[in-house]
Subunit: 197 residues, 2 copies
Amino acid sequence: MAKAERGPRERMVFSAAQLIRRDGVHSTGMREVAVDAAAPRGSLQHYFPGGKTQLVDEAVGWAGGYAAGRVARFLAALPEPTPSGLFAEMVRQWTDEYETTGFAGGCPVAAATVDCAESVPSTRTAASAAFATWTGAVAAALTEMGVPAKRAGALSTLMISSLEGAILLARADQDVRALTTVARELGPLLDAAVRTR
Amino acid sequence: MAKAERGPRERMVFSAAQLIRRDGVHSTGMREVAVDAAAPRGSLQHYFPGGKTQLVDEAVGWAGGYAAGRVARFLAALPEPTPSGLFAEMVRQWTDEYETTGFAGGCPVAAATVDCAESVPSTRTAASAAFATWTGAVAAALTEMGVPAKRAGALSTLMISSLEGAILLARADQDVRALTTVARELGPLLDAAVRTR
DNA sequence: CCTCGACTATGACAGCGGTCATAGTAGCTC
DNA sequence: GAGCTACTATGACCGCTGTCATAGTCGAGG
């Protein structure tokens, strides 16, 4: 799972994100992260002197950047990009994972929000920033497709909200139906926002 | 916070739901629940021989029933019920709470899903059931408003997905904007599904 | 009064988790 | 080779948590 080429520090951040995604923040131990990343335990305190909080915050930030990067890649890959097409791709990433590898993981940013929003201010801030970079990427993609700037922000919020919620439902039900439903119902609304049509 | 009239058992379930809502499942201790419920610690093992798992499962179930009950009450209170009006009320419950008492709490069912979906099968099932009763109540309300049965199910999934996601965003941002945005953007789509119009 | 069941009250325990302290190694520069 | 820095390696500690065990209270029924 952890790609070997990266340095141990980045591997630990990556592993932390993966484990948080699956078990939540509190159930993910530092030792567990080190083992999963095939990194020495002593490196934790060396690279993350801020302790677990710092590691979690960086994992959340990493996830935000990763999600934004995916949006950009989707946009580049789609032949004729439309809002509904983008959303369908975002949803498909999850349905693909759930159908092939099971319903083990959710969104790490959501997990951090649920577990730390009230207790760890810096993590709450990190989650907010992660959501912001993600929605920002989506909004930029929408404007590039011809959606007026003002609505692009609102629609990106709607897209990511319904995606996050559908992920929750899908994991609870162990069924991708919520995800496919959301994509189908929201598609026409999204495409209707394109300016010249 | 805990209403005094109820018995200690119900108070503990209620307190568990409240604490889980705020701190997540794993960060909520049994002793803490007892204190919050003003219940004796010894009663935990008496009323919940299944341990923490049983308590959490019941708290999740309680939350599902509570959410469904709210839907029914909204429906009865609205003079001329429309899908968008129902959704606006569902959202308003959260914006009201956040604006008056702060962003301390999220949805307990979401918290249980994030923390236990992979590790505690019975809790995952309980969360699925809670979501099912909630979506069921919303779908029933929609059909009563004239939405065709098939779409009512899909729209209820969409409504709850986007509500749950918006709750996450709002908590992370400490700003109700995501909630109000979702309500505004989704309103017309929901009302357009009413059969005779 | 005695008993019995429901409930309450504590204390102990074993496990685990994050963090600190300390020491060791590797590689580079002077 | 001395010395310095970056990184690795462990062991110990302390606090917390869920759970178990045991004992106590209290009210109703016989």
